[in-house]
């Protein structure tokens, strides 16, 4: 009876996981086949193998530099977001500020306005006035501003979850708040910080509108902008180049994820307080 129930449970679990694996891997097939196909269509098929697409892509003067720019912008934004969000989330978590949750949520709502199409003129004018047009810094600050509220929102949950007893004893031994944050709290929430960093990188990596309107020199343009150049004058996609570039352009994010998850763990580390 219980054995039968258990067996049913095992079978159901296996079926569920198999379905999930199929569902999540199926769309990825195209990325594995098209870049190596001499005449790719939008079908994932067994390609007539070629590396010519890579060669013609590397003839494009902006491809490699765009990946470098993506790295600069994504890394700087992620660093900025993680550090500022960690500081702010820690303070918000440990000190009672009246209405802090409401304030955080309002910021979260405003961030949804700023990341939309309608905000492009204010963002552009702001960057113009601050002399940030055509600079990496302008892109980094603009994108970080949009990401910070959610990062603080999530990190505050982590900070709430860490027990305060260590901090109290460290304080008794005369540690400063910054030392306590650095030596006690940060190690506890490190997987969460890693997650936020990867989340920020993935967001910046994919964003098109802000870098596009804020940058002028294509030597500073990130991959998301360069991807859009691989079309014809009539707007038809050059699938040979696009599929190949997509692969190159996706790899760094995947490598970063693998690295971060090996090194720091990658999860919303538990123990969030009840």
């Amino acid at each position: 009876m219980t054995d039968a129930r258990r067996a049913v449970g095992v079978i159901m679990r296996a079926t569920f996981l198999a379905a999930v694996l199929g569902f999540f891997s199926l769309p990825l097939l195209w990325l594995a086949s098209a870049p190596f196909d001499a005449h790719p269509t939008i079908t994932a098929s067994v390609p007539s193998l070629t590396l010519a697409n890579f060669r013609s892509l590397l003839d494009n003067p902006y491809v490699l530099s765009s990946l470098r720019n993506s790295v600069i912008q994504a890394a700087a934004s992620a660093a900025l977001v993680v550090v500022l969000a960690a500081l702010a989330a820690y303070a918000l978590s440990r000190v009672r500020v009246p209405g802090r949750d409401a304030l955080l949520y309002v910021l979260l709502l405003l961030s949804s306005v700023v990341t939309g199409t309608a905000a492009m003129v204010p963002l552009f004018e702001l960057a113009t006035r601050l002399n940030l047009i055509d600079t990496h810094l302008g892109v980094v600050l603009t994108l970080s501003g949009g990401l910070l509220p959610a990062a603080i929102f999530i990190l505050k949950d982590f900070m709430d979850a860490t027990p305060t007893s260590y901090e109290e004893s460290a304080r008794v031994f005369g540690a400063s708040p910054l030392q306590i944050l650095g030596h006690i709290v940060i190690p506890l929430v490190r997987p969460g910080l890693a997650t936020i960093a990867v989340w920020a990188v993935a967001n910046v990596w994919g964003s098109f509108l802000q870098p596009f309107i804020l940058l002028r020199d294509p030597d500073k343009a990130p991959g998301s902008v360069i991807l859009y150049t691989l079309y014809t004058e009539g707007g038809s996609p050059r699938l040979d180049l696009i599929s190949t570039f997509s692969l190159l352009y996706s790899l760094p994010v995947v490598v970063m994820y693998v690295f971060v998850s090996r090194r720091y763990g990658f999860r919303f580390h538990g123990g969030i307080k009840r």
Partner: protein, 455 residues
Amino acid sequence: MRPALAVLAGAVLALAACGTGGGSQDDGVTLTITSNAISGGKNAETADWTAKWVIPKFEAAQKAKGRTVHVRFQPSGVDDEQYKTKIALDLKSRAGADVIDLDGIWVGEFAQAGYIKPLTDVAGASVDSWEGWNQIPQAVQGLGTFDGKRYGLPQGTDGRVLFYNKDLFRKAGLPDPWQPKSWQEIVDAGTALKKAGVQIPIQLDAGTAMGEATTMQGVLPLLAGAGAEIYAGGKWTGASQPLKDVLNLYRQIYTTGLGDPRLQQEAQGRDKSFAEFAQGKIGILAESDYFWRSVVEPKAGVAPMQNRDAVVGYALIPAERPGAGIRGQDFVSMSGGAVRVLNPNSKNPGLAWELLSFMHSAEATTSQLAGAARITSRKDVNDTVLGVDPMLKFVSDKVLPITAYRPPLAVYPQVSVALQEATAAIVSGRSVEEAAAGYQSKVESLVGGAAHVAG
């Protein structure tokens, strides 16, 4: 924590340093050119021509006059709408390149916004004495003209025709060369193709997913064939008889199996129609000469056809009936094209004009073609280069004299969407009356009331 802060501070400093780079030049003057072209990507030939021909030649010519001039090229490669947005933002904040590429259709709205000024206002009287004006046909000059003033120099133009697959025509027992004289003859050919088992006899762009292609390749040439222009005498065309005739033709094609309605709805429908024409699945397809130059072009086209010259035929778009077109024409077309304008905020407007006119000299225009044939704005250049390509010669000789242009007004893109929506309604099975009525009320709300709409 500390290391993280240090990394952050370092990153911010490094970024700030990046931001201030490229400031000081030596004493010379710097001019900037921008266009929606980028090396290795969209419109790569234009980008390469600008960087490798225009800039060195112009700098050398200026040096010969004893002036040090640096020219920079600021490439871009995005959707036309996104490019337009970026240029508008630049001009709005009084920044941007000195010489700017624009689609001719944007001239009016940019002028109305005060973003661009007539060439003579920017660069002075020397504009009017330019030798090139005599070489550019009046109609083509219209691409850069708004309210009777010249805002930009046209780069070239195009024309819409009907392309057809000669193999499929032979199979269906249709003549080659083929030149329909009325809409009925197009439908008849489509019916014959269908009988012969052709999958998609006629591809006439329709619906909103095709975007401006629906308007330019489909509705507007047909409307011209029914004797109406979309904007004439200060009024927009509403649900008039010519518009209903156009919608009726759409209905004929898309409800009797002569066209593939699903293809018009797909987000990538236009690209797919190109691929299907190249695979011999489409009999007749309405497009501009872009289709010949860049789509089915045997070597670098997006849907290359090795045997293009033998298989792909082309014919003028007929009026609804002979003589029923605008200006009483038997055949009609629509044209567009890009222009180059001067930035009114240029610090060196005189020099910018020298650069602009240099880019439109016969020598520069010829060089831009780099051996490929394409319809330029200059008669002298067309006469020498178009002999290479019979299709483009056909467009230049037969199509351009009968063509028409879109009104360069800010509200046009929205009227265009309303037209696309009307065809979308037909494709999804609604009646002509219903689609026309929907269009009428939409266009009234767009252009400020029924007083601005001719019914």
